[in-house]
């Protein structure tokens, strides 16, 4: 345990604490024969203890005033919770209306909720529901942009999700690079429990064979499960429900991607944002995963310990008070 102080200059008060050690102990009662009384060992001892206590009280208060604290430290804990990297599509297409809401005119876009907003709403709920997990976040469009390292501070995760509400999306979408970068979050991390890459996107992409192999390999190597929270665009075929094989592949890139993910050896699940139960299903799924307890480093924040000094000082003062009250002052 190492204690640090916030205001070291206050410690000069410790000099004052030494003074009671050297002051002469005066007898309160002047009595002619008192000097004749032989030294009493117990009395001398009590005298020393009282002196030390006075000095200690001053020292304790000087220490309390100097702002003592235990610095922040990491301790290993065992708990439950997954490591989840949110891979959020922030391309321009996410600003367009979400397909899972009723509309009369397919070209009318006013007043409809954009896909990005749906995604952020679902993610916020997800994070709010599973606050024991660690989250990282990666936004992807042309380039994957790391938004957050893996952290368990829910407030900053929300701030990162909220940031998507500001400004429009970026131009393009490169799902492959996004997934690869998301998996790399786990590269330097010890395997402490379930790992999930949660892709939140509206569309598919044609991944070339190299990227496909690379993704499959990386997922396997780092033991990462892939979840896709699919946000369907208006007028586009879904990936799971209602997607029939007679839709040609070239108008349903999302399904092509889905079909590719299905071939992965590592766990893969797709959730359709249209399905009101999708979010609950996703949450339940992560619950399933984390059956094994995970070890993680918890940061114990810095702790102010002035109160320890206060309590010790108060005990000593109370003792001195008692001693003072029992002292014989006159007779």
């Amino acid at each position: 345990m190492n204690i640090s102080v916030a205001y070291p200059w206050v410690l000069f008060l410790l000099v004052l604490a030494a003074v009671p050690l050297f002051t002469a102990e005066k007898a309160l009662v002047r009595y002619s024969t008192l000097t004749l009384v032989p030294d009493d060992k117990v009395s001398v001892l009590i005298g020393i203890v009282l002196r030390l206590s006075r000095s200690a009280v001053l020292a304790l208060l000087a220490l309390a005033l100097s702002g003592p604290f235990l610095p922040e430290k990491e301790i290993e804990r065992i708990g439950e919770g997954a490591q989840i990297v949110l891979l959020l599509d922030r391309s321009r297409s996410m600003d367009q209306p979400f397909g899972g809401q009723p509309f009369s005119n397919p070209l009318e876009t006013r007043g409809s909720e954009p896909k990005g907003a749906v995604a952020r709403r679902l993610l916020s709920q997800f994070v709010a529901d599973r606050r024991n997990d660690k989250y990282g976040m990666l936004a992807f469009s042309t380039q994957p942009i790391q938004v957050l390292p893996l952290t368990d501070k829910t407030q900053i995760i929300r701030a990162a999700i909220d940031a998507g509400n500001i400004g429009r999306g970026l131009s393009e979408t490169d799902v492959g690079a996004g997934i690869l970068n998301a998996i790399r979050f786990f590269e330097a991390q010890p395997y402490t429990g379930s790992r999930v890459v949660m892709l939140v996107s509206d569309g598919g992409a044609r991944l070339d064979q190299t990227t496909r192999l690379h993704i499959a390999d990386m997922l396997k190597r780092y033991r990462v499960a892939l979840y896709w929270l699919y946000i369907r665009s208006r007028n586009s075929p879904g990936i799971i429900a209602g997607s029939t094989d007679d839709t040609p592949d070239d108008v349903a890139p999302a399904r092509v991607l889905h079909d590719y993910f299905e071939t992965l050896e590592t766990p893969y699940r797709a959730f359709d944002a249209e399905d009101p139960n999708a979010l609950a299903a996703a949450i339940a799924e992560v619950n399933e995963l984390q059956s094994l307890p995970i070890r993680y480093l918890d940061v114990v924040p810095k702790k102010n310990i002035a109160s320890w000094f206060y309590v010790a000082a108060m005990v000593l003062i109370a003792m001195l008070l008692l001693a003072e009250r029992t002292e014989i002052k006159r007779w």
Partner: protein
């Protein structure tokens, strides 16, 4: 009067009232010293220019030549350390023609680790396009700060290098209200035009942007690109275009303070050149940018100091008066 004198007299010889008093004071210090007091805190959105001109290493920091971006990151890192707890900070990056918010402001002390980690990851490589339209980027940053919260202050760290260059007469218009968002543009970079490096995957310099690799003059001066090539646009000075291109210095970059000052004036922001972390912190902690928010503050030191004085008095200074033995009459 008499009782007053008696009390003073009594207190000057007795120890126990002082002990009791200090006990009470310490009781207060331990239990009721946390009070929510209005404090100056800040709410900043830091926008980092991550365009390639920020890779010029023309800043001397700790006696080492540092790139503008590295320097910008280190001043922001020092801000994360120095801003008082209760302040909020958010981070955004600027490239192409817009500001991309990574996260909206969060409390700085509580999230220090995540903030610091994240700042470390800010890199010129995450830029999504190799353009640097400062004015538009600044406008979108103002918009972002405005949307985030009304008391969010903006700090836009840039060298002011527009690429492609803009036409002096046809500036991107600012649509907002000047002064709707407070804050400042932080100018980063050296005064001497320097070459902009090409970097490889390991950030080694593999070359420099050449004269013919960048646009030397603005698009308007190049004239219409439609039916008749190079047809002059109305109100655009097209004299000497070829010469201006030949003499262009746009492949070199220096801190363009005058331009940033103009932008600041136009948008109602302040301008400050950032040459050291301490100057940056001083700029951030200006009263004009502060907001008064109740912050839990520990005032335990007040009763403790009083108790310390009482005890020093009764242990060190107080005369121990001898009482003459009372003689029974």
């Amino acid at each position: 009067m008499k009782s007053y004198r008696f009390a003073v007299n009594y207190l000057s010889v007795q120890t126990w009232p002082w002990l009791v008093l200090s006990l009470l004071l310490l009781g207060i210090a331990t239990t009721r010293s946390s009070i929510r007091l209005p404090h100056d805190t800040y709410r900043y959105l830091f926008v980092m220019d991550i365009t390639q001109s920020m890779n010029v290493d023309d800043i001397e920091f700790d006696d080492v030549a540092t790139t503008r971006l590295e320097f910008a990151k280190s001043v922001v890192a020092s801000a994360f350390q120095e801003l008082p707890c209760g302040s909020d900070v958010g981070l955004a990056i600027f490239a192409e023609h817009r500001t991309f918010v990574l996260f909206t402001p969060v409390e700085v002390c509580d999230h220090y680790r995540a903030l610091d980690d994240m700042l470390e990851k800010v890199d010129w490589r995450i830029a999504w396009a190799a353009r640097s339209e400062i004015a538009k980027g600044l406008y979108s940053a103002i918009d972002a700060a405005h949307k985030s919260d009304h008391d969010t202050r903006l700090v836009f760290l840039t060298d002011g290098h527009e690429a492609p260059p803009i036409n002096k007469d046809i500036r991107p218009p600012y649509g907002g209200d000047p002064g709707s968002v407070a804050g400042f543009i932080g100018g980063i970079g050296g005064p001497v035009p320097s070459r902009i490096p090409h970097l490889d995957d390991n950030d080694n310099i593999v070359g420099y942007w050449g004269r013919d690799e960048v646009m030397q003059i603005d698009v308007y001066s190049l004239g219409r690109a439609t039916t008749e090539q190079g047809e002059a646009m109305v109100g655009v000075n097209m004299v000497d275009v070829a010469r201006r291109i030949a003499l262009g210095q746009e492949h070199l970059s220096s801190l363009r303070e005058n331009y940033l000052r103009e932008l600041a004036m136009q948008t109602g922001l302040d301008y400050a050149r950032i040459d050291s972390p301490s100057a940056f912190i001083k700029g951030l902690r200006q009263q004009a940018y502060a907001r008064r928010t109740p912050v839990v503050s520990d005032l335990g030191w007040i009763p403790t100091t009083l108790a310390f004085i009482c005890l020093t008095y009764c242990f060190v200074l107080q005369p121990r008066v001898c009482h003459a033995p009372t003689i029974p009459r």
